[in-house]
């Protein structure tokens, strides 16, 4: 994909990517349609599969070399078709017990959970000592890059770069662990790493495009890697275990949302809701964590997930009922939080913990 270089390097075209996107897309769509058509024929879901593939490819586009888009589109289409057949087969198998699908599947889900845990453990084990220490310091203890940089006498930028490389490796080792088998060729691991790190230069050096075509193994793994890599940047993970964490957490959420240009009212509403959720964690579960994600579809928004492994809420319905005051009822402040937010979801299991997910969308200022 390297084009001949004008020797003085002075041609001022920045990356040619965005301008050609429309053409590329039409071309990609034709390819994807062929791939899907060859496998499912005129199945009613064919067009959905094509659109879903394109959506995923576009989402991954910023992290792959342009030359890789085509092979990535093809493996994604293949994967989607395969998983549709799988789902269909499972539905057929379970049709006679349509009344309750969840119970029979639960042991399977349990096994999956166990597998995921052991994959994560083995992935961590495969990192070198420095990478592991850095990830633990930042992701688990929550030390920020500036502090780590100061301790190590380097710049926050360099720490961030190392962190993102370590995360990329962890993701690769994790999906490899889930596959529970070694990759078939020597090239697989470096290619997967370049994909995971969204390192276009490296992807090109390794000729990842050709490899993805010929290696089914990497074709299958490329998708979770790219999908994961996408979400890393806008996500903030805040441990919540004591009173001061409540104030810190709502400040961080406010700051993150501030980057989206939210109004002061929306920022205050978000901070207040976060405050209530964190208090519930501290009061009733002792500790837990908060995930703050920035969303950009269909418009800028913030999603906060508060989860704990506390005792859970025995009577969810009662907890969601408005008391005379917020400290009437069960005193969880949850009805108020629901009123403040655009979206609200709660799940709780006694003895296992509670997860509350709230979303607020930016208000369109032009109305």
């Amino acid at each position: 994909m390297t084009r001949p270089q004008s020797a003085d390097g002075a041609d001022a075209t920045a990356s040619a990517g965005p301008l050609q996107e429309a053409d590329d897309l039409t071309e990609l769509q034709a390819i994807v349609r062929r791939v899907v058509g060859a496998r499912v024929g005129t199945h009613p879901a064919a067009e959905d599969l094509v659109q879903e593939t394109l959506t995923r490819v576009l989402a991954a586009a910023p992290s792959v070399d342009p030359g890789l888009l085509e092979p990535y589109a093809i493996v994604t289409a293949k994967n989607l078709v395969a998983s549709m057949w799988r789902d269909d087969a499972r539905k057929r198998r379970n049709q006679h017990r349509a009344a309750d699908l969840r119970v029979p599947e639960s042991p399977e889900a349990q096994a999956l959970l166990g597998e995921e845990r052991s994959a994560m453990a083995s992935a961590l084990g495969r990192l070198d000592e420095h990478e592991r220490a850095l990830l633990i310091e930042h992701e688990l203890r929550g030390t920020d890059t500036r502090t780590i940089a100061e301790e190590e006498g380097t710049t926050p930028g360099a720490v961030a770069a190392r962190l993102s490389r370590s995360r990329a490796r962890l993701r690769v080792e994790y999906v490899l662990g889930l596959e529970s088998g070694d990759p078939p060729t020597d090239r697989c691991r470096p290619v997967l790493l370049a994909l995971s790190a969204a390192d276009r230069r490296r992807q090109r050096e390794l000729d990842a495009a050709t490899h993805l075509f010929s290696c089914d193994f990497c074709g299958r793994l490329s998708e979770p890697l790219l999908a994961r890599g996408q979400r890393q940047d806008g996500v903030l993970r805040i441990p919540v275990a004591a009173d001061p964490d409540i104030v810190k957490a709502r400040g961080s959420a406010r700051e993150l949302a501030g980057r989206l240009g939210f109004s002061r009212t929306d920022l205050t509403v978000l901070a207040t809701a976060v405050s209530e959720l964190c208090r519930n964690i501290v009061r009733f579960a002792g500790s837990g964590e908060l995930l703050v994600e920035l969303l950009d579809e269909p418009r800028p928004g913030v999603r906060v997930t508060a989860r704990d492994r506390g005792p859970g809420i025995a009577d969810l319905e009662a907890a969601m009922r408005d008391g005379v005051s917020t400290y009437g009822g069960l005193g969880l402040g949850l009805p108020g939080v629901r009123r403040l937010m655009d979206e609200f979801a709660i799940s709780s299991e006694q003895g296992a913990g509670t997860t509350v997910t709230i979303t607020i969308w930016g208000k369109d200022p032009s109305t």
Binding site: A161, P190, P365
Partner: protein, 286 residues
Amino acid sequence: MTQTTPGQHLLSELVAHLREHRTRLREEWAERIQQAHLLAAMTPQEMAAETTSVYDNYVEVLETGSVEALQHYARDLSERIIPRGVETHEVVGIVLLLRDVLARSLFEKYQRDFGLLNQVLDAYEPAANRIANTVAVSFVDERERVIRQQQDAIRELSTPVLPVRERLLILPIIGVLDSDRARQLTEQLLAGIRRHRARVVVIDITGAPDVDVAVANHLVQTVDASRLMGASVIITGLSPKIAQTLVTIGVDLSKMNTIGDLQGGLEEAERLLGYAVTKKEDATLS
């Protein structure tokens, strides 16, 4: 995973070269910026400081492949220079100039070995383009944010909250109210209370043809929020139909200060301003 590819090796050689000639290359770059009449809004001192930072960030991206630090810096820089009228083309222009200055110096260094030169440029070009993209995107993002802020300010100025006299505001509600507009009116009213140090607010809904349950709820919230800021609210022009809606959602109308028409509302407001302090209940929350 310790083997280094030729590309990586070249890139680190390149980085070393750029570090070694930092002063000369940076000055050459600054000169070309000046010749191109870019960033004319900056003083020579500022220019020297910023070009040094951009140069170092640039080389760091080439070295680490991570644009995170550069992104931060670019956003920060944009925030500082946008209010001074720096345009997008100027920012993109200076980064492209830097790209060219560095590319030229690479050309000089490797010109005797064309094969090697090609390899070096192959390693350099994608990274350089990525940097140009990053800076441009950061700048445009920041600019959009500033524009949004300015729009907010303009909307604020066109607020329908009318200060009739000291400590007294009127909020005439005209036309159809949906939840979005109702929310905006509330925000404007509350900001207006603080700006005008209002003690009494008259909300006149004579001009609102219909009020659904959501908007009625909103009206109640507006009254309560105004009280929290220390202002009493009088509602005028309440049609029987809207009054009915309020009762339906469980509002105790006797706790709301409602007056038939705007004239009566204003008289009541005068009275409150005169007695506001002695009649304590009027300034309290239910």
